[in-house]
């Protein structure tokens, strides 16, 4: 009797726990429906953060736009060409897939994406000034104070140091966000590089030598 009770407990306890876990995993992952709406608070409490998962891999649609962060510098009162700091990393990644460059691209790409989200947020939420110049100044100040912009400046400043190798320090610096949409399938053989591109120029600012966070 004791033996069979032990057997039942040894089988049923793990089965019960795994049953609960499987049901929670299914409810956590499936699209919203009346059942998930009812149980989602409990399911989320159980699943997050340890069992959190997202399987929308290139779904429902694959990525169809690229967000790039470009910059230009002013040296001896002359603005230089726009530069893409991600390009050298991208080239290295194309030459050899089995390196850390793929993950560096994630970090650099994330800086641009976060900045464009912040910029849109500021544009949507800034108000109170009737004068358009004053409003624009307020937006610029908010953007410059944001951690996303500061991070972008740190990223670009590092690239400037690499490019100019400490020989020249530029006077000014300007960032630009470029949203590039690839050619439509119907125009895939045309010579144009993109089907549509949108750029957002950030305010100009004095170039500061990059400082480490603890300085």
């Amino acid at each position: 009797m004791k033996h069979s009770l032990q057997l039942m407990l040894a089988a049923c306890l793990p089965l019960f726990l795994f049953g609960i876990h499987t049901i929670s995993t299914v409810l956590y992952n499936i699209p919203e429906n009346p059942i998930t709406r009812e149980y989602m608070p409990v399911v989320n409490w159980y699943m997050e953060p340890q069992f959190s998962q997202n399987w929308h891999l290139f779904a429902p649609e694959p990525a169809t736009r690229m967000v790039k962060l470009w910059y230009r510098v002013k040296v001896n009162d002359k603005w230089q060409h726009w530069q893409d700091p991600m390009q050298p990393v991208l080239e290295k990644h194309r030459q050899n897939r089995a390196t850390y460059h793929a993950k560096l691209l994630y970090i650099h790409g994330n800086i641009a994406k976060d900045l464009i989200i912040r910029q849109s947020y500021i544009l949507e939420h800034s108000s109170g000034k009737a004068d358009s110049t004053a409003l624009q100044m307020q937006q610029n100040e908010s953007l410059k104070a944001s951690p996303e912009y500061q991070l972008a400046i740190r990223f670009v400043s590092r690239d400037i140091e690499k490019v100019y190798k400490h020989t020249i320090y530029p006077d000014s610096l300007q960032l630009m966000l470029a949203e590039l949409y690839p050619k439509q399938f119907s125009e895939r053989l045309s010579a144009r590089p993109f089907s549509y591109a949108q750029t957002i120029e950030m305010p100009m600012e004095k170039f500061k030598k990059p400082a480490l966070p603890h300085e």
């Binding site: 032990q6 407990l9 040894a10 089988a11 049923c12 306890l13 793990p14 089965l15 795994f18 876990h21 499987t22 995993t25 299914v26 992952n29 699209p31 953060p49 340890q50 998962q53 997202n54 399987w55 929308h56 891999l57 290139f58 779904a59 429902p60 649609e61 694959p62 990525a63 169809t64 690229m66 991208l90 990644h93 194309r94 897939r97 089995a98 390196t99 850390y100 793929a102 993950k103 560096l104 691209l105 994630y106 970090i107 650099h108 790409g109 994330n110 800086i111 976060d114 951690p147 991070l151 740190r154 590092r158 690839p182 050619k183 399938f185 895939r188 053989l189 480490l212 966070p213 603890h214």
Partner: protein, 336 residues
């Protein structure tokens, strides 16, 4: 003791349905769950392969570790409210620990090697999970679906007993529980892969670009997920785009059902491995593709797993033999 149980279960399937038979079958299955380990070699192989993946993943990032984990890195940390929810898994995001990333990485490498050698498997698997989740949470922006799947596997491995001793007499309660957890954890790993494809496939079915067969074209136009050669190829030959998109879609939708058929499984996993090799090498999601290929090992059969597990032993024996030959030749040359 274990073999007859399986035989009885198989024989039972051919008998006409009877309530007593069903009860007997359930009892048998419950008994088998606790008294034997269903796929011990598969569990060992999967565990070793996942730890090997983690090791390669860390070693790839190691040459530029400061760019990822140091306090001067450009990687943002998680918002404070997220860190406060679970501090133990975000230690490297805390300012006082940020520059200790080197110790975490060193510990992870040592633990992964210990894990592959099956030294103190349960304790080591807990420590591997702890160290890996801390290292990865610091650089959450670089994580992808492959990392997500591997994290879940690392959690399930805590419950898996990978020891070779499969014929242990499961007489006491704890060893019975251990067997049950090992069997169910391996099953959970399989279900997790199925869930991944099910959700991903169903989400894609509703996507317009997947429906009209141009999803692959658009994916390969994005700089981060392409190679100039592949970009050019899909632009010139639309058939490749359409075939590639529909094959991916069909594969993901069919995988959850077909993978349980033992005859179709090898073909299915071979096609999947090709798709994921393409994702690794052409799209450049190098470790993601291999993560899924590693996860496929949870569906392998015992014989295959045993063969693969014997490969390192063969290599070591071969190297030993070569070394002995070399030293013997060198000694005889010296004597001459």
């Amino acid at each position: 003791m274990h073999k007859p149980l399986k035989c009885q279960w198989k024989n039972l399937k051919n008998q006409p349905f009877h309530m007593n038979n069903l009860q007997f079958a359930i009892n048998n299955k419950l008994l088998s769950l606790t008294t034997e380990r269903w796929n011990p070699s598969v569990a060992r192989l999967l565990r070793k392969a996942v730890y090997c993946w983690c090791l390669v993943n860390t070693l790839i990032l190691l040459p530029d570790a400061a760019e990822f984990w140091s306090s001067s890195a450009l990687t943002p940390t998680m918002p404070p409210e997220v860190i406060q929810q679970q501090v133990w898994s975000h230690l490297l995001s805390l300012p006082q620990f940020q520059n200790l990333y080197g110790y975490f990485i060193a510990a992870q490498i040592v633990l992964l090697i210990a894990g592959m050698a099956c030294i103190f498997p349960r304790i080591v698997s807990i420590l591997i999970y702890f160290v890996t989740i801390n290292i990865d949470n610091r650089v959450y922006v670089i994580l992808d679906g492959g990392n997500n799947l591997i994290h879940l596997f690392l959690l399930y491995f805590i419950l898996i007993d990978p020891s070779k001793n499969t014929g242990r007499p499961a007489s006491n309660f704890l060893s019975r529980m251990s067997n049950a957890f090992t069997n169910l954890s391996l099953l959970m790993c399989q279900l997790q892969v199925v869930m991944m494809y099910l959700i991903s496939g169903l989400s894609k079915v509703g996507g317009e670009l997947w429906q009209n067969g141009t999803a692959l074209y658009y994916t390969l136009q994005v700089d981060e997920y392409t190679h100039p050669f592949a970009k050019d190829l899909v632009s010139r030959y639309p058939i490749l785009t359409v075939l590639g998109s529909y094959t991916t879609l069909l594969y993901q939708v069919m995988f959850p059902w077909l993978v349980w058929n033992k005859k179709v499984r090898p073909w299915l996993l071979s096609i999947g491995s090709c798709i994921h090799l393409q994702i690794s090498l052409v799209m450049g999601l190098f470790m993601f593709g291999f993560a899924i290929a590693v996860a496929y090992l949870s569906f392998s059969n015992e014989k295959f797993a045993e063969k693969v597990l014997r490969v390192p032993g063969h290599i070591i024996r071969f190297l030993n033999l070569q070394f002995l030959r070399f030293t013997r030749t060198a000694t005889s040359a010296e004597t001459l």
